[in-house]
Amino acid sequence: METRIKAVVALLSIILIASLAGVSLYQGYIGRIEDDSARILNMRDEFSALDRIGATRLLRKIAENWTISQTHERGAIPLTTAAGAFYAIPDGRTILAAIVFRQRHVLVAGVIGLLLAVEAAIFLAWSLSRPLKRLAWAFEQIRSGSWVTLPPSRRQPYEVRRLTAIFNDMVDTLRRWQKLERQISRMDRLASLGQMVAGVSHEIRNPLASMRIHLDLLSESVSPDGDESLRILGDELDRLNRTVSQLLAFASPRPPLVGPIHVSDLFQWCRQMLHASLRKGITWDVSPVDDDLGLWGDPQQLRQMLLNLLLNAVEAMPHGGTIHFAAQRNGNGVEFRVSDTGPGLPDIIQERIFDPFVTTKADGTGLGLSIVHRIVELHGGRIEYETSPQGTTFVVHIPGQREEIRQ
């Protein structure tokens, strides 16, 4: 681009300079010849008394660079002298050279002008190519995976501003697309995972049930020494059973059995469930809820959802802290809010906390939040979170209208 602009500007200025200089030289030349001719014609009479040498000398005096000749040429002026008829002839080349010399400043100025014009052209090219370059840089960045937007600037020309705006728009759209795509691929993954998990869980659940029964039967006939081992065995079996139920809840959830629910009942239940943990230095801070605050939903699933969130909050604060638990009407739905004062979500899993089996806990299953997500989805709701090193807040929005709940 620079080369092109430079070439055009250089050509233009050369043409301009050449034509200006040409015209000025030509006019100077014509003017000079005319002046000289006029002067010679004025003095014509004085030549008649002179011989050739004298005539030459006189001619030199009145008009530099003219010569006397016997032959006729263009622009010649006939003179009669004592030695016969001659012609006064202008020596074009020398005259021209003299004029060029006299007008050399014009030419020098021309060269200076040419250089200035070309340098201006370079800056023009630069100011044009700079935004392009910036754009190319931004595309490069995007290709290598970092989302950049270009800061808009008032000083840029309209076209560039427009380009910047379009670019930024495009980046936004692409970003949203990418998010969407992630969501879709997550759903795909979950679907196939879910099928497998459901199959495996069913296969495990039945043997587990019979193991439990037989364990209970066994406890009667075992000597008291084995009691402790039997108790541990039982606990572990229960734990296994719980995990499998969780897996099933996540993998092949049953559709919600929708009915009217009082939020205060839900709160009551959660409180009872968490009673044991509350003694471990955790303060329980429940915002009062209206008695008539209610919604439509599956009570069992919603309880599970809140419990999972609350358990996570408790687990996030092994050294104590405050759990803030609130619900309020929002539009025609209800918004639940569970905050803790724990260390926040670990950075490395932030993108994937709702995926199954993502956990940072040694004995965690990583299913809690994925089940929460499932339930929220089934109720046609939204879940969001904010997290910082000072704590984490999960906000769940469950719509109130019956129609919005997926059947």
Binding site: E2, T3, K6, A7, A10, I14, A97, A98, V100, F101, R104, H105, L107, V108, G110, V111, I112, L114, L115, L116, V118, E119, I122, A125, W126, S129, R130, K133, R134, W137, A138
Partner: protein, 466 residues
């Protein structure tokens, strides 16, 4: 005759301008960064390296100065200047490995990293900035003087012309400088060869020319002329050291595409530069034979009188273009280095900039261009005032550059842990004391100072680790 000569020169000027605009100078390359700007991406081929090296070597001042010196004093000019310069050239191959090993972008940076002391960078860059500023001023002056005589225009207009030429080629960084230098070298070669050929055509073989020259006076033939060797020798040495330590050559070693290219460049340079000096010698000799006495107010006037008197219009025109090309090619590379010292090396300048980000790299290069414009403009202004001491000031600043860079570049690598900064300080102190106390030029007092620097460096302890 005089008249059409001026016209011819004018045309030559316009011709050069158009050639330059058409053939050289890409100011803003698409994917530029500082390595490209300062070192042409370290990828110059042999032809570019060689031409930019030689074209930078030949400055307007040396072209004119050497020819005139030879014209006036005969072979002593050869002993005094050419030998000195060639001596410096002989030293350069020894620095190739060391310079190319480093990833530094400038000589002061190289110095600081090699000897582990950032203060060296500041002091080196300041010396460089100063030296090159004065040097560019003298280039502008020399050229302005000659051209104002030849075209019969005010000298500031002539200086303004070179200024524009120089700016035009420098804006694009080293790559643009190198590509314009290819053209400049070609013009210099043609411009010195044609006059020399004309001399031979007019005055016979070189041998006959030599005899005719010898007949003019025996003093012309003496290798030391009327001076004593004791004066010429140190001068020669000092010049050689100046060349060997000159960052504009070091930079060309660093910017060559490969080590092999760098060596080849250094091997081929003497041939080309030698050829140029031979041609200038013939021209100076023939000039003296054709025009035995020359009276002029100053060097610039003398040179233009000489070439218009002894050469027909075309060779004279070509020689003028050669002087122009030499001035432009030397000044642009020096301008680039001065801007580099200012924007890149002086540490307080670029604290806020970091690499890799579009905005900051771009801003950095724009700053460089502003610096190039500012330094050139400053030089143009200074060159218009007839400051008397400027030449000696320029030579003085060269000696400072040599004191900063010569030893570190050529000392064996095992001394790189020595306290260089202290040695440089001591040497500079001695240099200035001597300059102040004794009536010698800076070139002479530099030599004992350099010896002292060496002594301090060798005797001194290693700098503490860490």
């Amino acid at each position: 005759m005089i008249l059409s000569q001026a016209v011819g020169n004018l045309i030559a000027f316009g011709f050069y301008a158009i050639l330059l605009v058409v053939l050289a100078g890409q100011a803003f390359t698409w994917n530029e960064n500082r390595t490209r700007f300062y070192l042409a991406g370290r990828s110059l081929g042999l032809r570019s390296s060689l031409s930019t090296f030689c074209a930078t070597w030949m400055s307007a001042a040396s072209l004119v100065g050497y020819t005139l010196w030879f014209y006036r004093d005969g072979y002593v000019a050869f002993t005094g200047s050419v030998n000195g310069w060639m001596l410096g050239l002989l030293a350069l191959p020894f620095a190739v490995t060391r310079l190319r090993k480093s990833r530094a972008l400038s000589l002061p940076e190289w110095l600081a990293t090699e000897y582990g002391d950032p203060r060296l960078r500041t002091i080196g860059a300041s010396a460089l900035l100063l030296a090159y500023t004065f040097y560019i001023v003298t280039q502008f002056q020399a050229f302005g003087g000659i051209v104002s005589h030849m075209l019969d225009i005010p000298s500031w207009v002539a200086s303004l012309l070179v200024y524009l030429f120089v700016l035009y080629t420098t804006f694009g960084g080293l790559a643009s400088v190198a590509s314009s230098d290819e053209m400049n070298l070609a013009l210099i070669l043609v411009g010195v060869t044609v006059p020399a050929a004309y001399m031979l055509w007019r005055l016979g073989t070189p041998r006959e020319l030599h005899h005719a020259f010898a007949a003019l006076g025996p003093v012309l033939m003496r290798p030391f002329g009327s001076e004593s060797p004791a004066f010429i020798f140190p001068m020669m040495l000092a010049w050689g050291l100046g060349v060997a330590a000159n960052p504009q050559y070091a930079i060309r070693i660093m910017s060559a595409g490969s080590r092999r290219t760098a060596y080849l460049m250094l091997i081929l340079t003497p041939l080309i530069v030698g050829w140029i000096y031979v041609c200038l010698t013939l021209t100076g000799m023939g000039g003296r034979v054709l025009l035995p006495s020359l009276t002029g107010p100053g060097d610039d006037a003398a040179f233009s009188t000489l070439i218009t008197a002894i050469l027909p219009p075309l060779p004279a025109m070509l020689l003028l273009v050669a002087v122009l090309a030499a001035a432009v090619s030397t000044a642009n590379s020096q301008l680039l280095l001065a801007a580099c010292s200012w924007c890149y090396d002086l540490p307080f300048r670029n604290r806020t900039l970091h690499r890799g980000d579009f905005g900051s790299e771009e801003l950095f290069l724009v700053r460089n261009r502003v610096a190039i414009g500012a330094i050139a403009s400053l030089c143009l202004c200074i060159s218009q005032f007839p400051l008397p001491g400027i030449l000696s000031l320029g030579r003085y600043s060269w000696t400072v550059v040599a004191l900063c860079f010569f030893l570190p570049m050529y000392l064996p690598e095992r001394y790189r842990r020595r306290r260089l900064f202290m040695a440089v300080l001591v040497a500079l102190a001695m240099h200035h004391t001597l300059l102040f106390l004794l009536p010698f030029p800076a070139e002479i007092t530099m030599l004992p100072s350099l010896l002292l620097e060496l002594a301090v460096l060798l005797a001194g302890p290693d700098r503490p680790q860490g």
